[in-house]
C-alpha cells in the first residue's frame, strides 16, 4: 500500500514534468528555432540577391561615343550601345567634373541616345573641351570611346575638329568582320576586325560621301558564308562625325 502511494505521486510528478517539458519545447524552443530559421532565410535571400547584383554589375558592358549634334551650338549627343545580356540604366553623366542626373534605360544589345545641352559656362576658359563619363545604377563607370571634342566659344563658336570621324560600332563583337571604308577616289580603311574589338574610329581628312562595306563571316569553321552590308554616309562641317552601327 505504501509502495503504491509513492508510485502514484512519482507518476503524477513525472506526468507534470513531461507536460512542462513539452510546454517548454512548444512555447519557447520551437518559436526560437523558427525565428532563427527565418533570419537565416532572409540572410540567404539577401546574399543571393547581392551576388546576382554583383554578377550583373560585372556583366554590364556599354560603349558610347560623343557626337556634336549641331555645328554652332554646344550640344552633344551620346550614342550609347548596350553590349550585354541585361538592361542597363544610366543615372549620372559627368561633364567636366559636374554630375547631371539622367534616367535612360537601354535594353540588352540595343542602343540609346542622350542629348546634353547647356554645356557652355561663361566662366570656363576658352576653348572648352568636354570630359564626359557615364555611370550606371549598378555603380559602373564608363568613358567614351571617341575623342574629346572642343568647343571654341570666343572664336567662330564652332566645334573644333581637325578631321572628320566615322565611328563603326559593332553590336556583336564576337562576329568576325572585315571593314572597308572608301570614296570613289580613295580607300581609307580596309582591314579585318579582331574579335575582341568593339568599335573603330576612322578619321578622314576630307568632307564627302563615304561608302562603307562590312563583311561578316557567318557559320561554322569550314562552312563560312560571307554577308556584305553596305552603308553610305556623309561627313562635312555640319556633321563632322558619323556613326555606323553594325
Amino acid at each position: 500500500m505504501h509502495t503504491t502511494g509513492s508510485s502514484c505521486r512519482r507518476g503524477t510528478s513525472t506526468l507534470m514534468g513531461t507536460l512542462i517539458f513539452i510546454g517548454i519545447i512548444f512555447s519557447a524552443f520551437i518559436p526560437m528555432m523558427l525565428v532563427m530559421r527565418q533570419a537565416d532565410t532572409i540572410y540567404e535571400k539577401e546574399k543571393f540577391q547581392v551576388g546576382r547584383l554583383d554578377e550583373e554589375k560585372a556583366m554590364e558592358n556599354i560603349y558610347f561615343y560623343l557626337l556634336p549634334t549641331i555645328e554652332d551650338e554646344p550640344i552633344i549627343t551620346l550614342k550609347i550601345s548596350n553590349r550585354c545580356e541585361i538592361a542597363v540604366r544610366i543615372i549620372h553623366v559627368w561633364i567636366n567634373g559636374e554630375p547631371r542626373e539622367v534616367d535612360l534605360l537601354i535594353s540588352p544589345t540595343s542602343n540609346g541616345e542622350l542629348e546634353l545641352g547647356g554645356l557652355i559656362d561663361p566662366v570656363y576658359p576658352d576653348p572648352v573641351s568636354f570630359s564626359i563619363m557615364i555611370v550606371t545604377d549598378k555603380g559602373n563607370i564608363f568613358l567614351p570611346q571617341s575623342g574629346i571634342p572642343t568647343y571654341n566659344l570666343l572664336g567662330d563658336g564652332k566645334w573644333d575638329m581637325d578631321f572628320y570621324t566615322i565611328y563603326i560600332m559593332m553590336l556583336h563583337p564576337q562576329s568576325q568582320l572585315h571593314i572597308l571604308v572608301q570614296t570613289t577616289e580613295k580607300v581609307y580603311f580596309d582591314y579585318p576586325v579582331a574579335n575582341e574589338e568593339q568599335g573603330y574610329a576612322i578619321n578622314v581628312q576630307d568632307p564627302g560621301t563615304y561608302q562603307i562595306i562590312v563583311t561578316k563571316l557567318l557559320g561554322k569553321p569550314g562552312e563560312e558564308e560571307l554577308e556584305d552590308t553596305g552603308f553610305t554616309i556623309s561627313v562635312n562641317e555640319v556633321n563632322p562625325m558619323a556613326l555606323v552601327i553594325v
Partner: protein
C-alpha cells in the same frame, strides 16, 4: 498502543499532503524553468535575428567613389551608394572624422579643406560604419 493507533489513523492525510506538496514543487520549479527558458530563448532568438539582419545589411552595402576633384583648396569626393541600405561613411585619407550619411541610390558630395600640391597622387579611402570600404587614386591637377 493508543499512540500507534492514532498514528495509523493520521496516515491517511500524509499521501495527499505529500502529493500536493510534490505537485506544488514540480509546478513551481517547472513554471520557473518554463519562464526562464522562454525568456532566454526569446532573447537568444532576437539577438540572433538582430545579428543576422546586421550581417545582411553589411553584405548588402554597395558604394563607390564616383568622382574626385580638387578645386581652390577643397577636395571634393562624390560617393554613390548603389546598394539597398543607407550607409554612413567617413574618409580615411586624409583622416576626416565627420561621418556622412548616404541614402540608398544617392550621390553625396564630401568636401574636405586640404592643401594639396599639383601632381600629388592621393589614395582616398572611404570607409563605412560596417567596415566596408572603397578606394580611389587621384592625381591633383
Amino acid at each position: 498502543m493508543k499512540e500507534i493507533e492514532r498514528f495509523n489513523e493520521r496516515r491517511g492525510f500524509s499521501p495527499v499532503v505529500s502529493a500536493v506538496i510534490l505537485s506544488a514543487v514540480v509546478l513551481t520549479i517547472g513554471g520557473v524553468l518554463w519562464a526562464f527558458s522562454q525568456s532566454a530563448m526569446t532573447i537568444s532568438a532576437e539577438d540572433y535575428a538582430k545579428s543576422m539582419i546586421e550581417m545582411t545589411d553589411t553584405i548588402s552595402e554597395r558604394f563607390i567613389i564616383e568622382h574626385v576633384s580638387y578645386d581652390a583648396g577643397i577636395l571634393h569626393i562624390w560617393v554613390y551608394n548603389y546598394g539597398e541600405v543607407d550607409i554612413e561613411v567617413k574618409v580615411t585619407y586624409p583622416e576626416y572624422l565627420i561621418w556622412t550619411e548616404v541614402s540608398s541610390k544617392d550621390l553625396e558630395k564630401i568636401d574636405i579643406i586640404i592643401e594639396l600640391s599639383p601632381n600629388t597622387a592621393v589614395g582616398i579611402n572611404v570607409e563605412s560604419r560596417r567596415e566596408n570600404d572603397a578606394y580611389y587614386r587621384f592625381v591633383v591637377p
